[in-house]
């Protein structure tokens, strides 16, 4: 059943022009970023080669590209997830799922995996750019794999938060804005620590920045694979999926 709903959701995404537009726009912007990064790398390449232990092309081109991708997708994933549940509520098609012999968690997981499928396609499209460097030079494939995995976890977390926001309202636009607000807040939360001087504040800021979504992405971009970071993302995803299921069950309750 989960598979069925996921496939339906995945196909529905491509029935609307939104999915195509998102793929196109993301690709164009990232492509531009990739090319300009590559160009500046070419300029400094000769100087770098004289240095010992200098950063390679993976550090200077691939990591910035994927970290840029995370920020662009922070703006775009809310648009993908906004209509998951809210539109079904608005069009009252959710009745079809509520009346069918399936559980609430199957509905949420099905929808979630449908969106993940789309995000994987997006990820593959992005991965093609660094992989194209293989024609000309060697890149650190291990670091690339860690970074891609990190990006996937970040996107999966965005989507999990998005599906929860989508259960809260009947209006896709509100779901998108709230999700964007939440994700943006979780991104800038680590800025607080950077500017404060006093030690007490700094302590707070460090614990706050621990919750930052992108804070856990940076080690992976550098190729540092730490289970803490992975578990952070998995917990984040699980939390929002459980909240979504609870919310969906709550829709039917007397209130």
């Amino acid at each position: 059943m989960i598979k069925l709903i996921a496939i339906r959701e995945f196909k529905s995404l491509f029935l609307s022009p939104l999915a195509w537009a998102i793929l196109t726009v993301t690709q164009i912007i990232l492509c531009y970023q990739f090319l300009s990064q590559l160009e500046s790398y070419m300029k400094v390449q000769s100087k770098l080669s004289t240095l010992e232990n200098s950063p390679g092309i993976t550090d200077l081109v691939v990591s910035p590209l994927l970290s840029g991708a995370a920020i662009i997708l922070l703006l775009i994933v809310p648009l993908l997830t906004m209509r998951l549940i809210s539109e079904e509520q608005k069009n009252q098609t959710i009745t079809l799922l509520f009346s069918a012999p399936i559980s609430m968690s199957q509905i949420i997981l099905g929808k979630y995996f449908g969106v993940l499928g789309f995000l994987i396609i997006l990820l593959i499209m992005i991965a093609l750019m660094p992989l194209s460097l293989l024609f000309g030079t060697a890149i650190d494939l291990g670091q690339l794999a860690a970074a891609l995995m990190g990006l996937f976890l970040v996107l999966a977390s965005f989507a999990a938060a998005g599906i929860y926001m989508s259960t809260l309202t009947r209006h896709p636009a509100i779901a998108a804005v709230s999700n964007f607000g939440l994700l943006f807040f979780l991104w800038i939360i680590n800025f607080a620590g950077m500017s404060t001087g006093s030690s007490a504040n700094a302590q707070n800021a460090i614990s706050l920045s621990y919750f930052s979504l992108l804070n856990h992405f940076e080690p992976l971009l550098r190729g540092v694979f730490s289970t803490t970071d992975i578990i952070y993302y998995l917990l984040f995803i699980a939390l929002f999926l459980v909240l979504s299921v609870r919310r969906l069950e709550h829709l039917r309750l007397p209130h």
Binding site: M1, Q92, T93, T95, L97, F98, S99, P101, I102, P254
Partner: protein, 338 residues
Amino acid sequence: MGSELLIEVEQLSRHFSSSQSSDSLGYTTAVDDISFNLKRGEILGFLGPNGAGKSTTMKMLTGNLSPSHGSIKIAGIDLMDNPIEAKARIGYLPDTPPLYKELSVDEYLSYCARLNRITKPKLQQAINTTKERCGLVDYGKRIINNLSKGYQQRVGIAQAIIHAPDIVILDEPTVGLDPIQMIAIRKLIKELGESHSVMLSSHILPEIQMVCDNVQIINQGRLVFNASIEQLNQQMQTYSIRMSCQKPIDLQLISDLAEVESVHLVDNNDNSIMVNCSQSDSAQEQDPFIRLSQQLIAIAEQDQLGLYEIYPKKQSLEDVFMSLTQDNSVEQVGGNTH
């Protein structure tokens, strides 16, 4: 099989919180203490004015709303304890058909069928049979959004019956259909009623009369009438005669007749009168109603009144409906047939 209970509803209530509710409880009651049963092979009509709680009751029966109090059993399975098994036995058409408008009819029906546990090998057959039943055979490739309202409604019905559920619950199934489609859908409902149980709500009273075995009238969340269609027909039995003549009729003469309870002039222009027959024991050798009409004709002939119209004034379902829903103090009429 004939007596198998498919729906058992006991003391079902549903409250909605509202700030402007009139009572001190802080909520409005949409459905108030409803109990009823539905057997296999029965068609139950659900009548009531707007906002009476018809849709709310149906939403609770299909697991779209959870009740505040009371219990619902679907084919012996408690809907609260085991919602998934219970839902597998229900097909539901809500007041707004739950259609994914960007899909084609075939795609949509196949999705609905798979959601309702129809296995892949049986899928195509289920879709074909359902399309045939709902008159959608030539519409499989069409996008639902491009279909007319009536055809969208048909797709909604198809969605509700595709997995051959024990119970089909239809919320105003004939809304937006043209008269020919209406007749087709009524026929379909009759057919469904032979093998399944059907519960439908409607505003169209003759439709309920035509299709259903049992009728329930709900008003302000309460069940005010619950009886079989025969009992309803009895309730609607006529005891009035309307008669029109060319010359004025002597009201005194008529009111002196033994069978007459009351008589009054309806229209001065065409000398129409309404005669109410007294309801005596039916044990008598001849129906007083027939006797009365014979006497009236005899009087008209004798006095050469120029009788040109005489007919029994039928009390329609509308009249019963109005008297039940407008008078809140009315007691429950007719017993539960089960």
